[in-house]
């Protein structure tokens, strides 16, 4: 029996077949066994029917990306053979429900794959219900990769506990039946073994939930949203823990209400955040300038999906960077930051609240569907590095000592001391009109220039302390790969798989803080490079355009993908080998 250090597993069938729940259980089983996990779902925007695919990457080392080819494909319907058989790698194993799927031996041979027909539906029915064929398939796969059922039984019990003893027992029965079926009927050499690992203190979590947890750790106490894929799980998670955490979580009537309600709360002194996808941010952009002009701290999360318009709403893309840099009429400061994975989503979720309060402006977190809905193993989050910074928020005692309080006082760093409604001696007008230092509408040329300059200075102040872009690989290499956001997983996972002689020639630069733009750092890196490759999930290289605008450097080599699919490792490896 051969030993493998990783496994790429895919399960597919109709929506409603329990594809995702099977995948989640399978992931949890391997995480509990000490493995690192990354999962990826493809599904159309509907509740029943359609073709749902769940891919799970299991690895002994950290993994944050998917491969095009998989080792095991579990087919729950005939359509999976048409759609996904070619996804199997050479000598891959097709596990299929022989009750409902026909697949010929020549076809398997032609694809260089092995077929394991299992009457999943019959076995599931015998165990108590056809719906459990997904669990039968999990049992079968565990047998295929030489795992025991100990951890799986526990995960099944936890997963179905809320449905009662009978459901739990039936699923345990189904799991065992699938496992036994493979053990008894197949002894071929394509069956492999994944090594036993030590348990780790990991959690399996999406970037959406990580971001929510980070924000909670960072003192979030007010979240408003309107459901929109792929941002909704932030709302779902925060709503679920709202009472436990003492957080107000409001599903408002539309995104315009969302942002204005959050603004009201932030104005009153809450640590407020809103979440949506690009279309929702289009509605919110009406108020984006208001956030900046009233200098109200607000974190706005845009979990990108593939637009424009409704686009392909359940797929991934990085098409909103330029939109976030320019959304809303007028000329005003904002910040744009982009996490590359779940850990960064946690860190930035907490930090964004500090930035918003310190600089009193909108902070946009730009994420995307791949990481937002894909779960990954990360070390259990710790809060020892999380800090609360409320900037120039005044206490009543500080206000009492002030001779004359001016909310929009012109200061050197651009940030003015902030009172909250309810405080004595702190009155002001938060005004959507241009205003003077108190907040009165004031249209004089002199005042306009002073206030615009004051607000803009906040970004100059931040630029002095802003974290630099992250550089991976050989820092002195002359070939530079440039990316932002979720491509981190595919690029870094591919990088470690490259031969040493290629690796040492490459460095990788990630732009996490996109606005204000880290002009000096990026210029230095790019000017010190002989060759640069830009990797983006969009069709017109939006980061490339930003870099050109800010540094004057045009990146010619581009690896762009905009079919709604994330970069597969194979694509990155091939590009880096040619680079």
């Amino acid at each position: 029996m051969k030993t493998k250090n990783n496994l790429s597993w895919k399960i597919a069938g109709e929506a409603g077949f329990g594809i995702k729940s099977a995948g989640m259980m399978f992931g949890k089983i391997f995480m509990r066994t000490g493995y690192e996990i990354f999962d990826y779902t493809e599904y159309p925007s509907l509740v029943r029917g359609g073709h749902n695919v769940f891919q799970l990457m299991v690895d002994v080392r950290p993994v944050n990306s998917v491969t095009k080819n998989v080792d095991v494909l579990v087919a729950l319907n005939q359509n999976t053979i048409t759609e996904n058989l070619s996804d199997l790698c050479k000598d891959g194993v097709l596990v299929y429900d022989s009750d409902v799927i026909k697949v010929s031996a020549p076809k398997l041979k032609q694809n260089h794959v092995h077929g394991i027909g299992i009457p999943l539906s019959t076995i599931a029915k015998d165990a108590g219900g056809e719906l459990m064929r997904n669990v039968v398939a999990i049992g079968a796969t565990l047998a295929l990769v030489g795992q025991s059922l100990t951890v799986a039984n526990k995960v099944i019990r936890e997963t179905f506990k809320h449905k009662g003893v009978k459901v739990v027992n039936n699923n345990i029965k189904a799991l065992k039946a699938g496992f036994e079926y493979v053990k008894q009927n197949y002894k071929e050499d394509f069956i492999c073994e994944l090594p036993n690992l030590d348990k780790k203190d990991n959690i399996l979590i999406s970037a959406n939930e990580s971001l929510a947890l980070g924000a909670l750790a960072g003192g979030l106490n007010f979240y408003v949203a309107y459901p929109m894929t792929p941002s909704s799980s932030i709302l779902h998670y925060l709503a679920k823990v709202a009472q436990k955490t003492g957080t107000v979580v409001k599903h408002a009537e539309d995104e315009i209400a969302v942002v204005n309600m959050a603004l009201g709360a932030a104005h009153a002194g809450a640590r407020a955040m809103v979440g949506t996808s690009g279309g929702g941010l289009a509605l919110m952009s009406e108020a984006l300038g208001l956030v900046s002009l009233t200098e109200t701290p607000l974190v706005m999360v845009n979990v990108q999906r593939a637009g424009p318009a409704t686009g392909i709403p359940t797929w991934t893309e990085q098409g909103d960077l330029q939109f976030m840099l320019h959304a809303a009429p007028g000329d005003f400061p904002r910040m744009v930051i982009a996490p590359g994975d779940a850990q960064e989503a946690f860190d930035l979720g907490a930090e964004a609240l500090n930035l918003a309060e310190t600089y009193q402006l909108p902070v946009i977190i730009l994420s995307d569907k791949l990481i937002a809905e894909g779960n990954t193993t990360v070390k259990r989050f710790k809060t020892n590095k999380v800090k609360i910074n409320r900037g120039k928020l005044l206490t009543q005692a500080q206000l009492n000592k002030m001779k004359k309080y001016l909310r929009y006082k012109v200061t050197e760093d651009g940030v003015s001391p902030r009172s909250l409604p309810g405080m004595k001696k702190g009155l002001f007008i938060a005004n959507s009109d241009e205003h003077n230092e108190y907040g009165f509408s004031w249209e004089s040329s002199e005042n306009r220039i002073k206030q615009v300059d004051k607000r803009n200075r906040k970004l100059e102040t931040f630029a002095k302390v802003m974290p630099d872009p992250l550089v991976y690989g050989n820092p002195k290499a002359k070939k530079t790969v440039v990316f932002w956001g979720s491509n981190k997983g595919a690029i870094l996972d591919s990088y470690v798989q490259l031969p040493e002689n290629i690796k040492k020639k490459i460095r990788v630069m990630q732009l996490q803080y996109l606005w204000p733009f880290p002009k000096k750092f990026v210029s230095r890196i790019l000017q010190g490079s002989k060759d640069v490759l830009l990797v983006e999930n969009n069709s017109n290289s939006q980061l490339g355009n930003l870099i050109a605008q800010e540094t004057g450097i045009q990146i010619k080599k581009k690896l762009l993908k905009y079919d709604g699919r994330p970069f597969y490792r194979e694509e990155i490896i091939s590009a880096l080998k040619k680079f």
């Binding site: 106490n221 009153a268 009406e286 909250l420 309810g422 009155l427």
Partner: protein
């Protein structure tokens, strides 16, 4: 507190004789009589003639975008329930751009007061028909007469589950002041739709037009403001006689009172500190 305490150094920019003056005076009087201090009050204004009052009225003020004062006011109230939150806007703001917020805020019954300065037209933009303009009304945007039927704020508020639905008139300062006081005191979303003649652009709905028609519904024998059916019937009366007063008032849980996490100290008065998430991460392990 005195009336002056609620006035800034800025003088109103309304036209002489504008109906907004009456509302402004009534509001300041109501606040004084309720014993409120400027710093205890957050006024959330929309955009329009009436909302320019953000500059003249001394309190914590938020001058929002057109149509958006209501969600902002709701958010502020949930964050700090100790504040008296009053949203103020015109009829275009409330029932045009902001109509959906109006309906949904009433459903939620957050504990705020909404005073709409209803002059039945857009005046800051120099005179176009508004959602409450009468059918047939000729304006710059409807030179051949308005085709739509006027929106009915009273009926709409009642249908949405309003718990305080009132109409008043800037020409009756005492009634308006008392209505605003009752609205602020009411626990829940309280609507005061205040008729206010635009003396510059609206030559139809003048002070005289209102004086000739308005009658106080609460002085009608047998009128029960707790009876939603009577209120609804009354809300449909429009013609030679137009009712004003508190159409309907009934207690109902507010949005905030239904949130267990808001019991006790106001949200923003709790210490913001790094939250322990150890328990929360367990479900992902």
């Amino acid at each position: 507190m005195k009336i002056k305490d609620f006035e800034t150094s800025y003088k109103p920019t309304w036209c002489p004789g504008c109906g907004n003056f009456g509302i402004w005076i009534a509001l300041k009087n109501a606040l004084v009589e309720l014993g409120l201090k400027p710093e205890q009050v957050l006024m959330v204004h929309g955009i329009g003639c009436s909302s320019n009052g953000a500059n003249f009225t001394r309190a914590y003020s938020w001058h929002s975008l057109h149509g958006r004062p209501v969600p902002t006011a709701v958010g502020a109230k949930l964050a700090n329930k100790d504040l008296t939150v009053i949203a103020l806007s015109g009829d275009g703001d409330a029932y045009g751009e902001g109509m959906s917020h109006f309906i949904h805020a009433i459903r939620g019954n957050a504990n705020i007061t909404y005073i709409t300065h209803d002059n039945k037209m857009y005046s800051l933009t120099t005179g176009q028909a508004s959602p409450t303009s009468n059918k047939g009304f000729k304006t710059k945007s409807t030179p051949d007469g308005l085709i739509e039927k006027a929106a009915n704020p009273m009926s709409l508020a009642l249908a949405a589950g309003g718990t305080f639905v009132a109409r008043s008139f800037s020409g009756n300062a005492v009634h308006l002041k008392d209505t605003i006081k009752a609205a602020i005191t009411h626990k829940g979303f309280s609507l005061v739709d205040a008729f206010q003649p635009c003396v510059t652009f609206n030559k139809l709905n003048t002070f005289k037009w209102y004086f000739d028609r308005l009658y106080n519904i609460n002085e009608q024998e047998g009128y029960n403001a707790q009876d939603v059916e009577q209120a609804y019937k009354a809300s449909l009366v429009w013609g030679n006689k137009i009712p004003y007063g508190i159409f309907y008032q009934k207690a109902r849980d507010t949005y905030g009172s239904n949130l267990p996490q808001l019991k006790g100290t106001a949200l923003i008065k709790r210490k913001v500190q790094v939250r322990n998430i150890d328990q929360l991460t367990k479900e992902f392990a």
